[in-house]
Amino acid sequence: MSGNVQILMGNHAAAEGALAAGCTFYAGYPITPSSEILERLAEKLPAAGGAFIQMEDELASISALVGAAWAGAKSMTATSGPGLSLMMEGLGYAAITETPCVIVDIQRAGPATGQATRVASGDIIQVRYGSHGDYCPIALSPWSVQEMYDLTIRAFNLAERYRVPAFVMSDESVGHLRESVRLHRDFEIVERNRDIKKPPFGTDAPDGVPPMPAFGDGANLLVTGSTHDEWGYRRVDHPDQHTRLVGRINKKILDHADDIVEVDARFLDDAEVAVVAYGFTGRSALAAVKRLRKEGVRAGLLRLITLWPFPEKEIRALDGQVEKIVVPEMNRGQVAGLVRQHVRGDVVSLCQTNGEAIEPVAIVDKVQEVLA
């Protein structure tokens, strides 16, 4: 064990994770409940040799991330629902140009302005499908201040490894939680392959991830949001080029689900009912499962640390093993719907959209109702 232990707010831990992962560029616009990330990096990033820019809005913020990444930076922003909605166009641009960047989303109650200071997890589907066309971002979901640190680091590494936008899908309750966190350095840092001799937008390599030189490295770089060939030349009327490009930017993620997907399974071995949860609701679910066990109910928890690519294999493994699946979430059943696509058994959705966290007692009651 190494690294100092501090009591930090989740948002501050995400900022520390960014610094530890080698973030060199932050562009963002303040928005509740994410602003503490921006505040801390405004103070600390320039001192660490990076650049911080407060942009005029979130459309500009995500575009700045793409530009900075192509100048060789590891770039990041943080936002919440209304800002995330503005970023959808730029997200697609980052996806088709295969630009690594990290977006921390501290989810709040929506749609629209909603309740700025209240918790929700309503953006899960949006980050996967909110920009037009087919793409596949990576999304991780922390449940503690420690994971705000650890998963922000992992998001940077996965973004670099796969040349893809990576999300830290947190929420107000985790973002504003204060707990102890170990700011350790027990991890590897992934640096991008900047080979200038190979095409930057196509590869026969099995991982499907081409090298990404920066402007100034000596490559003749063309970066466009239009369909392009492996050297970046626009090919807007070639069916094969489009098929190949869109296929590869999705396959490079989906084919590596085993490397990217992480789940946390507890008490599942003999479980008759599984609670599938993520983010702050995972904490409620763990407390609920422990209470149920004390009452003699064989309940287990499958916590989804990775949300995208969706942990299909891990969900399918529950089918036949447990009789019922309960999915508590602070939205109208976004992940419950995904779970249903992968199991034949009963999936019961516990939805709460009142701006409050789901308390353990609500999950205990729902499980008992389902088993009755």
């Binding site: 009591i7 200071t117 504003h176 204060r178 707990e179 904490r283 763990l286």
Partner: protein, 182 residues
């Protein structure tokens, strides 16, 4: 000996420094070797509106970091008293700032002259929250005085440090001698 876990809720109005108190108590608890979790519940207004911050102090890992029923409620405004007193655990205790909170007859409440002490003795009304924190630590223990003071030093801005340390010390005295809390 304190029976862990203990859940403390600081209730009041936005701007009274409740989230700061939560952060200070959590850090003091961590310095004492406890597991801690501090959370907050607030509105979008910079000032006003009922607000609370919660702290769990525990000897063991904290699964769920929010509090359903606080063991101790420290309350700095009538509106917050009305909202949060009913959430109190059956065996819970309340410390109320007597300047702003008038508990209904029959309610068992430790009335602390937080705001009055802040104005008359500490010299600044904004330090009333730290008088209340001092009273909590003086009355209930939970964390050591040295750890609390270290946390104040770490988390309070330099220009408010002196007045808040003074307010905390005055609150400690009040909390230790219950009969002065009327």
């Amino acid at each position: 000996m304190t029976e862990w876990p203990v859940g403390v809720r600081f209730g009041g109005l936005g701007g009274q420094g409740l989230i700061t108190l939560g952060a200070v108590l959590a850090e003091a608890g961590a310095l004492a070797g406890l597991r801690v979790a501090a959370s907050q519940h607030y509105g979008s207004r910079a000032r006003g509106g009922a607000t609370y911050s919660d702290v769990i102090l525990s000897a063991e890992e904290i699964d769920y970091p929010h509090i359903d029923h606080p063991d101790i409620l420290v309350v700095l405004a009538q509106q917050a008293y009305d909202l949060y007193a009913p959430t109190l655990d059956a065996k819970g205790i309340i410390l109320a700032d007597s300047f702003f909170v008038k508990p209904p007859a029959g309610h068992k409440v430790l009335q602390v002259p937080g705001t009055r002490t802040a104005i008359e003795e500490a010299g600044n009304q904004v330090s009333a929250n730290f008088v209340m924190l001092g009273a909590l630590v003086g009355f209930a223990g939970l964390v050591g005085e040295k750890d609390a003071i270290a946390a104040v030093h770490h988390l309070v801005k330099q220009r408010f440090l002196e007045v808040n340390l003074k307010a905390f010390a005055l609150g400690m005295k009040l909390g230790k001698s219950e009969d002065r809390c009327r």
